[in-house]
């Protein structure tokens, strides 16, 4: 009886898209896809694993972490996400969080929210020098896998659950990211997703990340200055210049993501959908 009530309640609730983020880079990698999913009627949940404490300029890490939390929540609101959960682990230290601790926290959220779609950092990507994404991605992938087995965390008294669709995201630095896997089943395949109609919304969300944008602009100005170079846009670094730089970044990424497609602006992923579990020949 209890089980039947639960299933009825689940059927009535809107489906959820759950985004796992190691750091603020989630927005540049997948905000277009998320906006697209929300426009299709899904409910959005963002899980911030790291606290972005290094993404501040001339401020203590605690202040940067606090501001970045508030600004991530504001950006999520612009995209239409209903909820943001911040785990608060110190940025750049995710290697020190036990894998199973992180996995089980994510697993709990997966069983509680029963997302239709998971969007997670790709732990299999190469040449991304920020390894927080690797540790968060590995835990998220494991959580997706383990959430389906009743023997994991039975004390939670939450039904096991399989998320049917998973998108793996990563900054486009792996030259082999577009290479398909050998088989269509059991390995996520590369896809490009058209974000043209949602790009303005992605830009508006990015503008909310004022502290991150400012820190990145200041760091870039400093890196250029160390090489005797300057960028006219950053002659004076203020919030407007930082937002403009963030926009250039998002435009550049969307153009990269669209390369080789008919789309003007796109994001690219590895995608595990129905064919991940059931080979195509059985689906026909």
């Amino acid at each position: 009886m209890r089980r039947r009530q639960f299933l009825l309640a689940a059927a009535a609730a809107p489906k959820t898209v759950m985004v796992v983020a190691a750091d603020a880079r989630w927005l540049e990698c997948c905000a277009g896809l998320v906006a697209r999913q929300l426009a299709a009627g899904l409910r959005g949940l963002l899980v911030r694993v790291g606290d972005d404490r290094l993404e501040g300029w001339n401020m203590p890490p605690e202040q940067a972490a606090w501001r970045n939390r508030l600004e991530a929540e504001a950006a999520a609101k612009v995209l239409g996400l209903a909820e943001v959960v911040s785990f608060g682990y110190p940025a750049s230290e995710l290697r020190n969080v036990p894998h199973t601790t992180l996995r089980d926290r994510l697993l709990t959220l997966i069983r509680r929210h029963r997302p239709a779609v998971l969007v997670i950092p790709n732990p299999h990507t190469e040449h991304d020098r920020n390894l927080d994404s690797y540790y968060a991605g590995a835990a998220a992938e494991d959580a997706w896998h383990a959430a389906r087995f009743a023997n994991y965390l039975p004390a939670l008294a939450l039904e096991p659950y399989v998320t049917p669709e998973v998108y793996y995201y990563a900054p486009p630095v792996d030259p082999r990211r577009r290479e398909p896997e050998a088989a269509a089943a059991f390995v996520p395949q590369p896809v490009q997703v058209d974000i043209s109609p949602w790009f303005a919304q992605k830009l508006a969300a990015a503008r909310e990340l004022k502290t991150v944008n400012r820190a990145r602009a200041e760091r870039l100005r400093e890196r250029l200055a160390a090489a005797g170079q300057r960028l006219p846009l950053l002659a004076t670094v203020d919030d407007a210049a930082a937002a403009r730089l963030a926009e250039e970044n998002l435009r550049g990424l969307a153009a990269l993501g669209a390369e080789g497609s008919n789309y003007a602006l796109a994001e690219e992923f590895r995608y595990a959908g129905v064919e991940y579990g059931i080979p195509a020949k059985y689906l026909r």
Partner: protein, 303 residues
């Protein structure tokens, strides 16, 4: 599914494909950070590139992260001392005089607090201010040695984090300043299936190739093998073959000769992929590799 473009292009195998020749990066200091005494020069990198950088005005610093206690037959403590001495000798052939030994325990680098090693590397990058950082490619496939994988991971993070003033600000009280090196070159093996996904080849001339061979030969504790001659000749005889050039020299010379053949072959093999006589291959992260969305914009607008 129709809203997406599914990529189904046939992937070409990476190994054996032509490699672009890389320019020598401009700069003054190269920092090489590896787990072991002999990782500056092995069959799959880096001695030739180091020699070429030094010949072009660079100063070099070698960081040995482990204590190399397992390499050799002399017991842990003696191995450590002999291997460090031979690292200095080998590196002198390449023109590198400074060796910093961090002495983490050899072959025990999975359970070490890697963020502490990373902090040491961040500090050393801030101290020496390299333009070029050389190390192990942490994304190399099938790397079985945990020291290589983990020092590579710590190093590639230290490479970008050293330039961030929010990272370990306590270092600045010790007189160092943030420093972002402009190039990272990661080495890996190419003879392990798709072991090393290289994106650049660095050409070597005869002198650089020779220095590389001398540098590895200096590690006699692990590479000098007077018994090799007899073993090779016996194996060949079993197949009805002979190797007069090896048979004609004494056991010690034969060991050096085999090392020379081995090192020469691997440099020629990589050189063939790049259209030159000798080369080494690397995965190169350039200064804007972490900003793929801004790369074109910066190339157009940074002055």
């Amino acid at each position: 599914m129709c809203k997406w473009l599914l990529w189904m292009a046939v992937a070409a195998a990476a190994t054996g494909q032509p490699l672009p020749l890389g320019e020598l990066p401009r700069g003054k200091v190269v920092l090489i950070a590896q787990p072991h005494h002999d990782d500056h020069t092995t069959d799959y990198g880096m001695g030739g590139f180091i020699a070429r950088l030094i010949e072009n005005g660079y100063r070099g610093v070698y960081i040995r992260a482990s204590n190399d206690e397992k390499d050799g037959r002399n017991g842990y403590a003696q191995n450590d001392i002999i291997n460090l001495r031979e690292a200095r000798a080998g590196l002198r052939h390449l023109g590198v005089d400074e060796v910093v030994s961090l002495n983490w325990r050899n072959d025990f680098m999975n359970p070490i607090p890697l963020n502490e090693l990373r902090e040491q590397l961040i500090f050393l990058i801030r101290k020496y201010k390299p333009d070029v950082v050389l190390g192990h490619n942490p994304w190399e496939h099938y790397q079985k040695n945990p020291d290589h994988r983990n020092v590579g991971r710590a190093l590639v993070e230290a490479y970008w984090m050293a330039g961030d003033r929010n990272v370990h600000p306590e270092h600045f009280a010790l007189g160092v300043t943030p420093h972002a090196a402009r190039h990272f070159y990661g080495k890996g093996r190419l003879d392990w299936g798709l072991g090393q996904q290289s994106n650049v080849a660095i050409a070597l001339n005869e002198t650089q190739q020779r220095k590389k061979e001398l540098a590895i030969a200096a590690h006699r504790n692990v590479y000098h093998n007077p018994g090799a001659k007899k073993a090779y000749l016996a194996a060949l005889a079993g197949e009805g073959k002979a190797l007069p050039e090896l048979a004609a020299v004494d056991d010690n010379t034969a060991s050096d000769l085999i090392l020379h053949w081995w090192m020469n072959w691997i440099s020629r093999d990589i050189g063939r992929r790049a259209g030159v006589k000798y080369a080494e291959d690397y995965y190169h992260l350039d200064r804007w590799d972490d900003l793929p969305g801004l790369r074109n914009y910066l190339q157009r607008n940074a002055r």
